[in-house]
């Protein structure tokens, strides 16, 4: 094989990975060492700050001016037509819409949060809010692809898949990228939220479930007696060994056989990882698992902590549908979303911190875009909504090397457009990879005749000010 031919070299690695010096197969099955092909992606002169990421993806686009980006001018001109230079470009919204929520400063840093996040705001000094995000599409899916995969086109690898590819896993019995969807239903854009795109399928997120068996087909639906299970495993092993013995040197076959052994180990590891009964009552209620509103999201937050604790690299949490998509009753719906998530998210930060995990776990909070400063529909402030808004919005990060207690960048007086330290998605992605010790310009995969990367052709900058 031509040594200058990256495709065949990498393909050989992932097809025959099982044989190389006993290196286990793929990240789903591999041990602590990062995949061999990924070593070169590590930034040589930067000590990784984070070894895991918990992504709290807020589908629908949370309203930045009601949560993280206070805009007194909005309240002052409430109900009036927006000035020309901040008018909504699709003329869908004609009346400025002040936030009914009070903003206050929290912590020593005085970082501002609105009153509907009483729990998360207690972590003000750990949180860095980027107020100057912008994205390139005002439709959910394209903006989700932008946020999750770096471009507004479908079918690319997600941030989680890139992380799994770049870092491998620390626990060979668990996948390195795990998705925790809402048992109430898939998020908008479904399985693409944890897709590996054109990266090999082993980097895609494995769905772990909060109810029933944690992984699909971990056990048969009709349980079999243990004797039968054991005999089956023995027989399978015996047959496989015979098959292999007749075909020496067939590395892929070896890997295939290993995958059965590892499946057995995963049965145990996954079940243990998600056994929340091992947690104290105090911890469970910290996450709000004892209250109906917070139970579901709290459960997933706790699952995320347990998975990260066990060496999983990337955990993505989702809610069903797109709860932040507040086209009508923005105030009530935004508040509802906070009621469901604020306490669990804060609990996650508290819990990570007290276990010493926050320093090495990067927590990402944000959606695909923000919401318009002006009202959409509605005859009163109670019924008015806010429309999608790509030109300026906020996300936040905590832990994993982030310098908390700050806001970065700014939108204009109305929260319409990011004007200071404008932050494109590629900058956010480059920074996240950087914190993980990965160089966004190097982490690439040959596709469509070129080495493609998460930040694609963007001239992305690492946001040094965010890093502690």
């Amino acid at each position: 094989m031509n040594q200058f031919d990256p495709i065949s070299r990498r393909q050989a690695l992932y097809q025959f990975g099982g044989g190389f010096g006993g290196m286990a197969l793929g990240t789903l099955l591999s041990d602590t060492s990062p995949a061999a092909e990924a070593v070169s992606h590590m930034t040589p002169d930067f000590q990784p700050r984070a070894r895991a990421v918990i992504q709290l993806f807020m589908h629908g686009g949370p309203s930045h001016v009601d949560l993280l980006d206070p805009k007194p001018m909005l309240n002052r001109f409430d109900g009036q037509a927006p000035p020309d230079h901040v008018a909504d470009d699709e003329s869908l919204t004609k009346h400025l819409f002040g936030s009914p929520f009070q903003f206050r400063q929290y912590g020593e840093s005085g970082l501002e949060f609105s009153e509907i996040q009483p729990f998360v705001s207690q972590h003000a000094d750990e949180i860095a809010v980027i107020r100057s995000m912008f994205t390139e599409h005002r439709n959910h899916e394209q903006a989700i692809w932008m946020a999750q995969t770096g471009l507004t086109t479908a079918g690319r690898p997600t941030l989680g898949a890139w992380t799994a590819y770049g870092l491998g896993t620390e626990n060979r019995n668990l996948p390195s990228f795990i998705a925790l969807p809402d048992p109430g239903g898939a998020p908008v854009d479904g399985v693409r939220n944890w897709s590996s795109g054109w990266l090999p399928p082993r980097y895609q997120g494995t769905v772990f479930r909060e109810q029933g068996e944690p992984v699909l087909n971990l056990k048969p639906k009709q349980p079999r007696p243990q004797v039968i299970e054991d005999a089956r495993s023995r027989l399978l092993r015996e047959l496989n060994e015979r098959h292999l013995a007749e075909r020496p040197g067939q590395l892929e076959l070896e890997a295939r056989i290993n995958s059965f052994e590892l499946a057995g180990r995963m049965q145990l590891a996954a079940t243990t990882a998600l056994d929340l009964s091992q947690e104290t009552k105090e911890t469970q209620s910290l996450y709000g698992m004892d209250q109906p509103t917070t139970k579901s999201y709290g459960t997933r937050c706790l699952m995320a902590r347990r998975l990260v604790e066990r060496g999983v690299r990337f955990v993505s949490l989702f809610m069903s549908g797109q709860p932040w998509d507040t086209h009508s009753k923005n105030n009530e719906e935004t508040k509802n979303c906070c009621l469901r998530t604020d306490q669990p998210v804060a609990a996650l930060l508290t819990d990570l911190k007290r276990r010493g995990l926050l320093d090495t776990t990067l927590v990402l909070w944000g959606g695909e875009f923000g919401r318009t400063p002006a009202a959409q529909g509605g005859s009163s402030n109670a019924t008015s909504g806010r429309d999608h808004h790509p030109y300026g919005f906020s996300v936040w990060m905590a832990g994993g090397g982030i310098k908390g207690g700050q806001h970065y960048g700014a939108t204009d007086d109305f929260g319409y457009r990011a004007v200071e330290k404008r932050t494109q998605m590629a900058n956010l992605h480059a920074t996240i990879l950087h914190l993980l010790g990965l160089d966004h310009q190097v982490l690439s995969w040959p596709h469509n005749g070129r080495d493609e990367r998460l930040t694609d052709v963007y001239e992305a900058e690492i946001i040094e000010e965010l890093i502690a």
Binding site: E136, L235, R247
Partner: protein
Amino acid sequence: MTNAALRSTRLSALCALLAVLLLQPGVFAAEQRELTFEKDILPIIRSKCIRCHAGVEPKAGLNLTSPSSLLTGGKSGAALRIRAAEFSLLYEMVSSDKMPPVGQKLTASEKGLIRKWINAGAEGVGNAASIDDSEDLTGADLWSFKPPVRPAVPTVRQLDAVANPIDAFIQHRLEDRGMTLAAAAERLTLLRRATFDLIGLPPSPAEIEQYFNDNRPDACARMIDRLLASLHYGERWGRHWLDVAGYTESAGILNEDKPLPLAWRYRDYVIRAFNSDKPYDRFLQEQIAGDELTGYWDAYETAERLPAEVVEGIIATGFLRTAADPSRPDFKKIKNAAGQYFYPTLFDTLQIVCTTTMGLGVQCARCHSHKFDPVPQADYYRMQAVFMTAYRPENWIPQMNRRLTIATKQQVEAAAKQNAAIDATVKRLQAELAALKATFTARIFAEKLAELPAEMQPEVKAALQTEKGKRTEAQQKLAAEFEEKLQPQGKVLEAALAEFTDYTKREKELNAAIAAEEKERPRFDEVRALYDLPGEATTPVLLRGDPLTPGPLVEPGVISTLAAPQPFQWAAPEVAAKTSGRRLAFARWLTQPQHPLTARVMVNRIWMHHFGTGIVATPDDFGVAGSPPSHPALLDWLATEFVRSGWSIKHIHRLILTSNTWRQRSRVSPQHRALCTEIDPDNQLLWRQTIRRLEAEPLRDAMLAVAGTLSRPMYGDSQSVSRQKDGEVIVPAGQDQNRRSVYVRILRLNPETMLQVFDQPTIAVNCTQRSVSTVSTQALTLLNSDVMVRAAAAFADRVWSEQPDDPIGQALLTAWGRSPGTGERELLTTFFI
């Protein structure tokens, strides 16, 4: 601070204050007239920007005084994008006060004007006059851009190694390096290998027996012919083609996974084409221009019915409809919908066409001349122009409305007449039905009224016959009491009416008559096709691939650097022509016998599916960045042989499968392995067969076949799939759960779980080469999934009923095609008993 500076600071503070004051409603009330470059924008530029951005050497290469140079932009790219101020550099720079760097910033009003002017369409800008195409086109002498020349078949020392020319090419390279082909595999191995390769199923015990009993010298060739004649062949090889075509049955590129109920016709067309060994040139011509090739519009206008050939032609164009297209009629209202939603379909279509037929990823040239391959940017748009007459981003037809009816004008007109007659009859019958119902409802009223005491009757009658809103208080009371009884509604009325036999009898007759009429309505099948739309279509080069920065217009064409002997020949048709002929011209150019890529790319694909790796290991990249061919002469020999044979795919299968190269063992002697591994560890020179993984579909199909439950009906609509509560997507009970995998519905957002776990591609654009993954979810699926548990139970029942005395022997024969080996029977017996 100097006084001047102080003044300036104070001034800007005052300006800011003023700006805030000016934010009062009404002050900036939108002017209704169209903003123009000359009147509204140029004055701002003159006063604030011209000092740097004008003249021969403007700063950053950006000249703001000529409107069209705004699109071309400067060193940092386009200064503006039409209708997208928020994403335009010009607006970004002035709105953030980064520009002008010194002196007076723009006022809020000036910023607003620029913003509004851009978002209203940037009047005066037009299309950019030129494109930046200065990059050198390297690699113009690339081997794959020149026509294949039939090479002489090399001579080899070990003549008995050569069964046909393929072997000569392979053995020649092996001998060069001191190696040789491995011995042929055992008969059973060859039978299983051929059967899986060609039809994607294991051989049945009967087929094994038949083959072993055939002692004629050409038994193997006969076996291969039998498999090539099997209708399952098209299901197996059609599936390979559906991968590269990017076939799915939903448009769910957006979250709404909209089903494409007509897509399966194209899938069936592909299966039939492979089964009938449709010449590959014709196969491509039909898929790219089936409507033009078979004269669809002529037939539509003049024929009584569409000839079968025409129907097939329009179905074949389904190939050009596989690109994701989520558009709905209401999308037209979205700002910049063409760029955001419609152009992507066109981009994807070109990517599918080029990777599939030419093994070239031209999509790089969408934004700039190709960095590796000699493809100028303008060529990309010349090829886009081929499809522009049909796709028309600026005059889009939403995907659900973009279809043809299998009917001619005569039929459509006749149908309209017939429908009008039916409409009239149905209307009359329905009127009669309504009258009948009214009569009997009145009768119920009268009868029930008569049951009331006589003195009440007039008042009750009057109350109920008065309109609801006009009833007196007394009448309202009466109505409340008697309405339900005298004027029953809904089911109660139906029940009351059913008491009258003369009503029910007539009602039945009338409804039957209506149903009979409805049945007579002419219905035509529909086809998800691509066809040209009326009117002129223009194709701008898109600067940086951006629909919001259009450049000069181009005419249809092809990759100019590709040395095809026959040039692309197209002349604009008459204005009245229904179809432009662009796609047919493209298809003819593409399928000329000496096209540098078409035949090479296809024989390489066939080779890849028989050996695991293509002669060119990158089937979608025959360009500079792709892998060079491992056997260039063989590739060209096969390509020219393919054309010589009349583009017969089955001929190439036959050649490959009767070669000693393909028939080699994968399990070779230790000496052979030791020698060859040293020289060629990756087996690029093919000193043995490679062990290959079965893809998802043959894996599932084989499992069902072995269990004896595989359902084999061909063609037609797919088995639907549904997402279960636990997240698994399966063919649900009630459907034919054991149907062959190629007939299981493929939804972009809800792929069938088992197939997906085993690497059936999740389609974004298309799949030119499948991934092969080894993950433990595969093991879990095989160990515990319902599908497997069901198949295992069926398998057990089957072998026990077929051979109650030797179920183990029968199991091995069915599953592996052989009798138990040493110790195997004992091992299995211990387990089962």
